[in-house]
């Protein structure tokens, strides 16, 4: 659920490979299945943009830490390759009729990396850890909704909620922490586990050379069986260009490519022989958001006209080199929450002009720009520095809108200044940004009117009482079928109102060295079955030394 320091959940600059959840497969590279079956051994090297902050989950929020933690820890539940829930440390679970109680039956025989058994004591501890005021975690909110937690025996863990909480189950992918090694009330960042973690996951911590490398080694006692690959190494390489060169020279084995790297810089024989490229829709979208406090954008008809005037296909081609797909709403096509039957406003500049003319926006003074009551139709789009895709999309939009007589200025600001002076206080006219799409359909944080305030995520100030009601309902319903009805309606409302012009869903473009076998792309991406990847003996570059 976490993706990236200053770009988590949302404004991702590059998708974190390990965490690409929910993805529709577009290209399945046929894996050359070597004659012999999976064998153990080998090593995979990842490039990481920064050193992990620490290795106790939920205390950190940077992607580098999360990437490493995923290998070391496990939660009660997990998502499978189709993004459905599956048991991890919980063998099974039951949700009560009223949706207020979840009872987990824990798996027997699971061991911590130090050999101690995993029991409900640890589950209880992990919960208490999250709600303890001394735990410096930003994620306590989800667990404060629990009114009572109990562990009647070693392998049962029950939680009670005050009111139905739709995302409850998902929050139990919470990494489990060892109760025999941590203490409540102490700063976990001072614990030795922060830099020398003990978990229940498929890999054990081996060695950390701060600022340069971190090494994990296969856990022979992992409950699902020992992972095939012996060793996982993270190399800190803060520069993306350097990472790409390291990939080319064989220094790292997997990374996410940019569209230009994918389509233009990785086609030589040397590269195609040693790497396999994948592409599938990433769980993210890029949008043009209109500040609805601006009188210019108050009328939904104007916003629909603007969407008609923007050629999304052209943006996908120009910005993503075709490696993306035009977007229509906040969910990803191919997932159950996506509603294909929403009103669409396809590219049609004449219609756009007609709608605007009907509202009084015409070129009265003959200067080439639309005007109304002596005021020209002009506005400024802002976006953040360091994301060429967004800047380029802005240029294309500027060009298209100029064609129908709307004058657009484009400004690019440094990230923190961008947030602090423009987005958070809501002082902008329009902005190009992106959100990550999470597995849960809850849209409350971005679209509810209560969050249309300085610092809230609804910084475009969209307020619709009808949608508010749906979003409130959606948070309290657990039945997926009922939720689907609610969020389908919400999508229709959003599409009709066009508070954003949804631009495109980018593709995730991971590339993996071809010696890794067993990669099977699925809606969840490629990393979901990492434990079953393997390297043929003759291509292993690393021997496990006792």
């Amino acid at each position: 659920m976490n993706t990236g320091k200053r770009q988590r959940y949302n404004l991702m600059k590059q998708p974190s490979l390990l965490l690409i959840l929910a993805a529709a497969l577009v290209l399945a590279a046929a894996t050359a299945s070597a004659q012999d079956g999976p064998v153990t051994g080998g090593r995979i090297v990842y490039g990481s943009l920064s050193d992990p902050a620490g290795l106790i989950p939920m205390v950190t929020s940077d992607s580098a830490s999360t990437d490493v933690q995923t290998f070391i820890y496990s939660g009660l539940i997990d998502l499978d390759k189709n993004l459905n829930f599956k048991g991890d440390l919980a063998e099974s679970w039951t949700i009560s009729e009223d949706g207020l109680t979840i009872a987990f039956k824990l798996r027997k025989g699971v061991k911590w990396h130090d050999g101690k058994p995993y029991t409900s004591k640890d589950a209880m501890f992990s919960y208490k850890f999250m709600v303890d005021p001394n735990t410096p975690t930003p994620y306590a909110g989800n667990y404060k909704k629990i009114i009572k937690a109990e562990a009647p025996d070693d392998y049962t863990f029950i939680v009670h909620y005050k009111e139905p909480f739709a995302r409850a189950l998902l929050t139990w992918s919470l990494s489990q922490l060892p109760s025999h090694l941590l203490k409540l009330g102490e700063d976990p960042r001072k614990s030795p586990l922060y830099r020398n973690p003990i978990g229940t996951g498929p890999y054990r911590f081996k060695n950390w050379d701060p600022g340069s490398t971190l090494e994990l080694t296969a856990n022979p006692d992992y409950w699902e069986g020992r992972p095939n690959i012996d060793s996982v190494v993270f190399k800190v390489i803060p520069d993306l260009a350097t990472q790409f060169l390291e990939l080319k020279s064989g220094g790292i084995d997997q990374m996410g490519l940019t569209p230009i790297q994918y389509s233009r810089q990785t086609n030589d024989a040397k590269f195609t022989n040693s790497f396999r490229k994948y592409k599938y829709l990433a769980s993210a979208y890029t949008y043009l958001g209109y500040n609805l406090k601006e009188p210019l954008f108050k009328d939904p008809q104007v916003r629909r006209a603007l969407t008609h005037a923007i050629d999304k296909e052209e943006i996908v081609k120009g910005v993503q080199l075709g490696l993306g797909s035009p977007a229509t709403g906040p969910y990803k096509p191919g997932t159950i929450w996506y509603n294909p039957k929403v009103p669409r406003f396809p590219y049609d500049p004449e219609l756009a002009q007609k709608i605007l003319a009907g509202l009084g926006w015409e070129d009265h003074d003959g200067d080439g720009w639309l005007d109304k009551d002596g005021k020209r139709f002009e506005f400024t789009i802002i976006t953040n520095q360091g994301n060429t895709q967004r800047a380029n999309a802005g240029v294309i939009i500027q060009h298209r809108l100029a064609k129908i007589g709307i004058k657009v200025e484009l400004r690019i600001y440094e990230w923190t200044a961008f947030l602090e002076y423009f987005i958070n206080p809501g002082k902008f006219q329009a902005t190009i940004l992106g959100w990550n799409i999470i597995p849960d359909p809850d849209l409350f944080n971005v679209w509810h009117s209560s969050l249309a305030r300085p610092g809230g995520l609804n910084f475009i100030s969209y307020k619709n009482p009808e949608l508010d009601k749906l979003l409130e309902q959606g948070q309290n319903v657990l039945d997926p079928a009922k939720r689907k009805v609610i969020y389908d309606k919400a999508q229709v409302i959003l599409a009709n109102d066009q508070p954003y012009t949804w631009l495109y869903y980018p593709y995730a473009l991971p590339v993996v060295h071809s010696r890794f076998m067993g990669i099977k792309p699925a809606p969840a991406g490629i990393s979901y079955n990492f434990n079953r990847w393997w390297v043929p003996k003759d291509q292993q570059r690393y021997q496990l030394t006792p």
């Binding site: 930003p138 830099r195 190399k235 350097t242 060169l245 990230w415 995520l457 690393y542």
Partner: protein
């Protein structure tokens, strides 16, 4: 001599305080704060959590109070703990990184010195020769080319195309298992590109200075006298002219320290070398105030010490300075 040194060291103190004060203020004037980066645009984080973080870091206090707190801790050499989630003591983080940066800088400084002096002297004594012209062109190209660009080109050429040198990092995987000489060789391979690039860029300026100062010295009367005495040309150049020509070079070497530390930020980030430059860069991006201040203080001290050493070396080399 001792009095001179004491005076110089004492004069450094107000300078250092001034530097920290100005940097502290500019740092806080920059948009964004350490709490923003963890909490901005993140729906999972409640506002209470943000307030708690602000209080935890003491960012709710007025600026002068914050500075005073920081400063009083500095007096006992306590740089505080990092704001980044690892929360480690700043001094520990810097101590881990400092040796790498210093060794790279010292190696390249030495390289710059041994290469630029002969180049400068030779260009000066053979003014207008092909070598002089070629080195002039080379030096200007070196001076003008952006370091990161040269670095990337070298990485593509030596790392990907020729596959001779490793592209980034300080050690290979499995470094621990190597023999002593294997380790040294491993370091050498990894440092070859960064050291060479940073010294070529330094070389540009330095060889020009040497050439200019050499040209000036050669025109002096005492050189004419030396020649008139019938000394061999090499003796004239190397023992009479060069000694005097090197005087300004000492000062310039001392002054080039800050720019080298600045350059470290760039090439340490590109080459993924875990040095102080990279630490400072990361801290800056994360608005990790204690680490930024720590790096700043350490590099200011280094710079001031470098200047002091240059002055001392100058005094040793030139009796006139000592007498003043």
């Amino acid at each position: 001599v001792l009095l001179y040194l004491t005076k110089r060291v004492l004069a450094m103190i107000p300078l250092l305080i001034g530097i920290t004060l100005i940097s502290f203020i500019t740092m806080h004037l920059a948009p964004g704060s350490p709490t923003d980066l963890a909490t901005n645009l993140n729906p999972d984080i409640s506002e209470m959590a943000m307030e708690r973080l602000t209080k935890l870091y003491g960012l709710d206090k007025p600026l002068h109070v914050q500075y005073w707190n920081w400063f009083t801790r500095l007096l006992v050499l306590d740089f505080g703990n990092s704001f980044s989630p690892d929360a480690r003591p700043v001094i520990e983080k810097i101590a881990e990184r400092l040796p790498v940066t210093i060794s790279i800088n010292v190696i390249s400084l030495v390289l710059v010195f041994i290469m630029s002096v002969p180049i400068g002297v030779y260009s000066a004594t053979n003014r207008g020769s092909f070598f002089d012209k070629a080195s002039t062109v080379f030096v200007f190209v070196g001076f003008a080319a952006p370091g990161f660009w040269v670095a990337l080109l070298c990485m593509i050429f030596f790392g990907v195309y020729l596959d001779w040198l490793p592209i980034s990092g300080l050690t290979s995987l499995g470094h621990e298992a190597l023999s002593f000489w294997g380790k040294i060789w491993d370091y050498a391979e990894h440092l070859a590109m960064p050291v060479l690039i940073s010294s070529v860029l330094g070389l540009a300026g330095m060889s020009r200075y040497t050439r200019a100062s050499m040209l000036e010295v050669i025109r002096q009367d005492y050189i004419t006298t030396a020649r008139a005495k019938g000394l061999r040309e090499s003796a004239v150049i190397y023992s009479h002219a060069m000694r005097n020509a090197l005087m300004p070079i000492i000062t310039i070497l001392g002054l080039s320290l800050p720019s080298m530390i600045g350059g470290a930020v760039i090439y340490e980030t590109i080459f993924a070398i875990p040095g102080m430059g990279k630490l400072g860069f990361e801290a800056l991006m994360g608005r990790d105030y204690p680490v930024i201040m720590g790096v700043l203080v350490i590099s200011s001290v280094l710079t001031l010490v470098g200047n002091l050493l240059a002055d001392v070396a100058y005094a040793v080399a030139d009796p006139r300075v000592r007498r003043r």
